[in-house]
């Protein structure tokens, strides 16, 4: 399967009467190793390869996918898709159109410095078992009886062709570790999970230093269970750590600025947005806030250079100096709002339609050190990371519960507090940001969306930041 087959599929769709057609051949390969409670649960190989074709016919959109490599089977899928798109066009009051985008020819191949194949499987499983041993070493009266570790090596190869003349080929490796720990003391439990991930080869493992990370997490859980006191109530200031601010940037800015949510296309699934098209340019919060969305960050987990509609990726500033600045678009939403796409269309596998997705979302750093953020607080909480979160489907009403969190009193960190909640509306949050840290850190995640559901790799990131005067009950 290659660009020529993709071209053949596009040409055939056009011959059947499609006004526009695109074909994406995608080959996803994954090795996963799972260690649970000190034992190797399984080694797994996943290989998904197939072709998808999208067509615009009489103003309606058809998508078809198959993993058959036989031309007859692919041809039948295209015919079915065109037929069904025509049938659905009678229900269209307004035809779906794609924005005009300049055709490109591009290749993006990321060669790992250390390929996954060059590292023996036993070294990988021993690394996971080592992490497990390090966790156990932190036990005292606090036990950590449940320990789950995943190592995932991924490789995605894409060939993309569309009827505008775009041809794109990419090969991107990804490495990820995910772990979940449960600590217990006298019937009380505390849990923590974290994912590390980058778009490169096994060379990332050495730089991540997972043993240090897991050791620190284990020590943190032990301390939370043995030392954390109840959190104070009332009006408190918060300093939020990068893993919290990254999640907030993703959930309360990235998602509601996805134009398909804004225009209602995801209404029955992920939901809609409290943001409306006419709010572009209006103030959403403090002028010191800028939220960036950038697929082109080198090595990032959400990295890509051309999206799955053939549009080049670029940095997007969703919020700029406190103003709603830009939405995330695909070619259909861009047409609706009379602009060009900014390359936000992504699909997980060959058998999933491209949807508007984030890549790497983060608050731009400011110029405060952590000490400066804290020293100005009379009474507050330093929420370094989180254990629970959710947000409503309009992305308006959100909640984060701290895992490692501290009481701040008189400008100083005093002691650990247990599970303080930050439950706030999105506009209130952005209004209350009054200082942003000068650091920046990212965590990896898999972001889910769509129907059928699909997950894409992303980074979520931020510096420390401070918000003032939040009621905590």
């Amino acid at each position: 399967m290659d660009l020529d087959l993709a071209q053949r599929a596009v040409d055939y769709a056009l011959n059947l009467g499609a006004r526009y057609a695109e074909a994406r051949i995608q080959n996803d390969w994954e090795h996963t190793f799972i260690v649970k409670n000190g034992n190797i649960e399984a080694g797994a190989i996943t290989k998904y390869m197939g072709i998808s074709i999208r067509v615009l016919v009489s103003g309606a959109l058809g998508f078809t996918a198959t993993n058959s490599q036989e031309w007859n089977a692919i041809r039948e899928c295209i015919e079915e898709s065109v037929r069904q798109a025509k049938a659905s066009s009678k229900l269209m009051k307004k035809p779906i159109e794609f924005s005009q985008e300049k055709p490109i020819e591009k290749t993006c191949i990321i060669k790992p410095k250390k390929s996954f194949q060059s590292v023996d499987v036993s070294e990988k499983t021993e690394m996971l078992l080592d992490l497990d041993r390090i966790v156990r070493q932190q036990e005292n009266k606090v036990k950590i009886p449940m320990r789950l570790f995943f190592l995932r090596e991924l490789s995605t190869i894409k060939y993309y062709v569309n009827s505008d003349g775009t041809r794109y080929h990419s090969e991107i490796p990804r490495l990820s570790i995910y772990y979940y720990l449960t600590a217990m003391l006298n019937g009380d439990t505390e849990q923590y999970f974290q994912q590390l991930g980058e778009s490169r080869g096994y060379e990332a493992m050495k730089e991540w230093k997972p043993t240090e990370i897991v050791e620190n997490t284990s020590k943190m859980l032990v301390k939370v269970l043995t030392e954390a006191k109840p959190y104070p109530k009332g009006k408190l200031d918060f300093v939020l750590g990068p893993s919290v601010t990254g999640l907030i940037a993703h959930e309360s800015c990235g998602h509601p600025y996805e134009a398909d949510r804004i225009l209602g296309r995801e209404a029955a699934q992920a939901g809609e947005s409290f943001v409306k098209p006419e709010m572009l340019g209006s103030k959403i919060g403090s002028e010191i806030v800028t939220v960036v969305e950038d697929p082109t960050l080198p090595n990032s987990f959400g990295f890509y250079l051309v999206d799955d509609e053939g549009v080049p990726a670029r940095r997007r500033e969703l919020i700029k100096n406190g103003l709603i600045n830009e939405f995330l678009h695909n070619r259909a939403t861009a047409t609706t709002l009379n602009i060009n796409s900014n390359g936000a269309a992504r699909a997980e596998f060959y058998n999933r339609e491209p949807l508007i997705r984030m890549a790497n979302t983060y608050f731009e750093p400011g110029d405060y050190s952590l000490e400066e953020l804290i020293e100005d607080i009379k009474i507050g909480i330093y929420m370094k990371n989180y254990t629970e979160w959710n947000i409503d489907d309009r992305r308006y009403n959100m909640k984060y519960v701290g895992c490692e969190s501290y009481l701040i009193e008189g400008g100083e960190i005093k002691h650990l507090v247990r599970r303080p909640p930050l439950e706030i509306t999105t506009p209130k949050f952005y209004e209350k940001v009054d200082a942003i840290g000068d650091d920046l850190a990212f965590e990896a995640a898999i972001c889910g969306k769509g129907d059928p559901a699909q997950g894409v790799p992303v980074w979520i990131g931020g510096p420390h930041l401070r918000i003032r005067s939040v009621r905590v009950s």
């Binding site: 439990t189 209404a267 519960v401």
Partner: protein
């Protein structure tokens, strides 16, 4: 497809596997996505994939591949066997069961009318949209799936069987006044009980019932969980009762076998033979004939769901819920009660009806503390009458406390399976009345 299964078994044994299992899955999907009363996209899928499990020297390895060409199959098996040399044995390795087995015929699993729907799916969506509009909704969105599946299972332990099934699933979300919404679901293996128009009507009715907003302070309230919300809650038992998740700390049922985990009114059965159940299946991934398993009986946790690996660890028998590596649930059934839903509402002095919820996130799986976002109808009830809709509430409580607080179950259960990821296991549930559930609201 059976020749592919044979190739896999033969090749794996030739390469030195001690035992082999393969599951070849063929899936055809017709899907219609709609929003703003129009079709957003029509999607079709035609794929065949193979799961390959090999065990060698008590190492467990599995692959899932979508390229079923002979050279790719052989290469994958070679990689699995090679991996086996470099990993340690599974702590509770247990061989696959020795067949052959007799499997139960499951009626009403396959409806040729669903397999032949093709572009007629658009007409069903049109029916749902129009029904919602006629009932008073302003706009509707949703998804319709019509699917045809065929599975062939073969193992090196003399197990061979196949199963064909169809599914139809419609989810409708309707809006009045901007963001006020309601939802309707219709799903099953056949078209027998499927009603697209009724799903549209219910979505519109729920939205209209919520459109008059009333103010209410957060706190603890008597609650009726309507079908979709009840399904989200009860479907969590697919994870909470799963031995893999118990072992991983991702369950609040750890160490609670034979303990009270719910009100005595609660009996939950995982049933692979539920009529019209979307996960009805005669055999599990190991080839065991499937059977109903009572997870909770009159409030007492009776067992976890097991495959051969977890059963060995827990020194018990498999419950025929394999997953080749970890167990999985089939159709989660909460046994119904006596009153009608209307009677449940009439008895409420002051309370809340929750139509749907999602984004369930646990602070602590082991303790069961979680919160969920509510949508598609949160209604305030006073003296048995619905007074209006509530905005901005979040459910924040404890899973076992809610199960223990169940005071009544309605008499007519429904199958719910929809909405993205929140009800991943088909759940057949009545409406549930809980003594009190806690709600919070943001600053």
């Amino acid at each position: 497809m059976s020749h592919i299964a044979e190739l896999i078994i033969d090749e794996a044994l030739k390469c030195g596997a001690d035992e082999v299992q393969t599951k070849i899955m063929s899936r055809k999907v017709n899907q219609v996505r709609f929003s703003n009363n129009e079709i957003s996209a029509v999607l079709t899928l035609n794929e065949k994939t193979a799961q390959i499990y090999v065990a060698k020297d008590e190492r467990a390895l599995v692959a899932e591949i979508a390229n079923l060409q002979e050279n790719e199959i052989k290469s994958t098996i070679k990689s699995l066997i090679s991996m086996a040399k470099s990993i340690k044995p599974h702590e509770s390795y247990s061989p696959l069961p020795e067949g052959p087995f007799k499997y139960r015929e499951i009626p009403d699993s396959y409806d040729p009318k669903i397999a032949e729907l093709n572009e007629k799916t658009v007409e069903l969506v049109e029916e749902a949209i129009n029904a919602a509009l006629q009932e008073g909704a302003k706009r509707s969105a949703g998804t319709l799936y019509a699917m045809e599946d065929e599975i062939i299972l073969k193992t090196s332990r003399n197990v061979e069987s196949s199963h064909k099934a169809t599914s139809i699933i419609l989810y409708v979300r309707s809006f009045v006044n901007g963001e006020i919404s309601g939802q309707g679901v219709s799903c099953g293996r056949t078209l027998k009980n499927f009603n697209a128009g009724q799903a549209g009507v219910e979505a519109a009715q729920d939205a209209i019932a919520s459109s008059k907003v009333v103010k209410l302070s957060p706190g603890k309230y008597e609650t009726l969980l309507d079908y979709s919300a009840a399904a989200v809650l009860i479907s969590l038992m697919a994870q909470m009762g799963n031995a893999f998740y118990v072992d991983s700390g991702l369950s609040c049922m750890i160490g609670k076998i034979n303990e009270k985990v719910a009100s005595e009114k609660v009996t939950i059965i995982d049933n692979p033979h539920t009529p019209d159940g979307l996960n009805t299946m005669p055999f599990d991934d190991e080839g065991n004939p499937t059977k109903p398993t009572t997870l909770i009986e009159n409030g007492i946790l009776k067992t976890y769901l097991h495959n051969r690996l977890t059963a060995k660890k827990y020194k018990t028998e498999t419950t025929a819920n394999a997953g080749i590596i970890h167990p999985r649930a089939w159709n989660i059934n909460l046994m119904p009660g006596e009153p009608t839903k209307e009677e449940q509402i009439q008895e409420m002095k002051e309370g809340i009806i929750v139509k749907n919820m999602g984004y369930v996130r646990f602070t602590d799986y082991a303790a069961g503390d979680f919160s969920a976002v509510l949508r598609d109808g949160i209604l305030y009830v006073k003296n048995g009458e619905i007074k209006g809709g509530i905005k901005g509430f979040r459910l924040a409580d404890n899973y076992i406390n809610i199960l223990k607080g169940i005071q009544s179950l309605s008499r007519e259960p429904r199958q719910i399976f929809h909405w993205w990821m929140e009800t991943e296991t088909p759940t057949i549930t009545p409406t549930i009345k809980v003594t009190q559930i806690n709600y919070t609201k943001p600053t």
